[in-house]
Amino acid sequence: MDAFVELSAELTGFSAEELRSTGLVETYRALADGAPEHEIIQLWYTGVWRGVIPDERAYAEGLAWKAVGVAPPGTGAPGFGSWERRPRRSTR
């Protein structure tokens, strides 16, 4: 049992597995364990912690982008012309 991951999953709507796959659990635990809910959500969703993006991965793994179903700008190459296709619905 990992209380921080469980709380994060409950707040974000992403499973513990999805959260672990970001590779950011330990970084975020160190920053946000015990923080108010909205700060924990903001960190997971946008990679922003109290006005700072701590590293590139935090931006690239932002859950807001995963919810939308696209890579954050400047992090992923979906391929030439991919933008013409019907968008994926949200990941759920």
Binding site: Q42, V68, P73, F80
Partner: protein, 559 residues
Amino acid sequence: MKAVVVGAGFAGSLIAKALGDNGFRVLVLEAGAEVNVDALGRFRTALVKSPLRPYRTTTAAPSSDYLLNTGPFDYASPYLRINGGTGTAWTGITPRMHPEDFHTADLGRGRNWPLSYADLEPHYRAAEWEIGIAADADEQRQHLPVADGYRYPMHALPRTYLDHAIASVVDGARIDGRELLVVGTPQARNGVPVPGYEPDGHLCAGFASCVPICPENAKYTPHRTQKRWPATVELRTRCVVDRVHADASGRVTKVTYQRYEDDTSGRHTRHEEQADVVVLAAHAIENAKLLLMSGLANSSDQVGRNLMDHPALLTWALMPQAVGPFRGPGSTTGIEVFRTGAGRRERAPFRIEIGNWGWGWSAGSPDSDTAELVAAGLRGTALREAVADRVNRQFALQFEIEQEADPANRVTLDHTRRDALGNPRPSLHYGLSDYVKDGLLAAKRVSDRLFELLGADDYTSYKPDEERYFEHAGEPLRYWGAGHGGGTHVMGTSPRDSVVDQWQRCWDHPNLYAVGCGSMPSLGTSNPSLTMAALALRTAEHLVGEIRRAGRVKMSKAP
């Protein structure tokens, strides 16, 4: 024949190549440093992903953040002093100007060009091949004359899903008596080449970060042209030219410059360079600054005046269905019918870009959406679904409003406030005329109609506590800077009222050229880099021809 080019951006890199290819020895002096290798990482970790953020600038050569605003409105457009100039961060959208835009004075506002669209057309084609533009000639002919048989070097990029969704509704509909048509926008990013063209860099892979940085090297930047420079072109970065010197006859003899090694201080050494020809290509504001500091080219009293930009109006809304923003280039189509016609006598014309990056620029999405939905109490799956639904339906319109040349909008030097090198900082007195404000208001009304046609939920709001907010005719408005500064060494037919002639040569100095958007007497409604490039190639051709006519240099290449 020795040419000194001041500035290694868009115009300077193109001219240096053309001169170097044609027998000149060329020294390019660039105020900024090389592009930092950590630019992409800086972009990713920047809280606000504004155009200059990825790039490290130096204390000695600050970018537009050292400008001083003294006018009723703030000049809102950034520029970058770095090798490659603002062309490093640009969007890469390359529409031509419309033939009407070359005689705006005849249409009631601003100034006329000393040349016509037809005069520039061959150079547009040359620039499109030099830069590498993806567009379809037949599609462009729907709103512009394009030479018969002409092909752009690359086929038009695929449209976005959003473009199709909008075109399927608005094409053929009418607003203010104008029939709407969504038209592909020429792009300086790699698509599929036509036979005979070999693009540099990679095919656009859709990183959705073109401005300020393309990780794929699919977007043209001046660095590409620099890689094609012959050995006769030498680049020196970290060299800030602070004076151009002329003899009693008006001929330019040399430039002096301040060279720095330390990026964090104003410590520098002084140098000079003799030249047969000097080409200023340092950006509209920097060119004006350097001419004013040198006390040259200003018998008309027009240096620094006529500062123009495209004040941009952003509007944003939700489509009824998911459109998948933040995939691919920022804008692949636009609506061009409001750029021309009798309406421009009454109010500034505008071009409409269909914006594919959600509310990223206008409202800071998706961070702002997340914050709003969390504040509304959403958690867990409900939050996840709400963010997905909200962002997936987002789109924006960007209206680029023409701003007419107005001598009161001007760059001067503030001798009391100096930069780290001891040079006076540029002071901008900038305003928006009623003509521009009426254009912004008309754009807002067109936006309202478009959103209505699309069945889109309009989320646009302009609030008094926001930057660049104002009211006009009782309505709230706001403008953004499109990054399209121009007009500050305006081109004309007479030395009495213009700074450069149709070749971008200073009337007062036979061997001094000031090139770039600063020469433009009107910006029309087009993103100006392509026109700047066409003008640069035209000037280079003229310079090479001048020298040949004078028989003073042996040419390294047949014409």
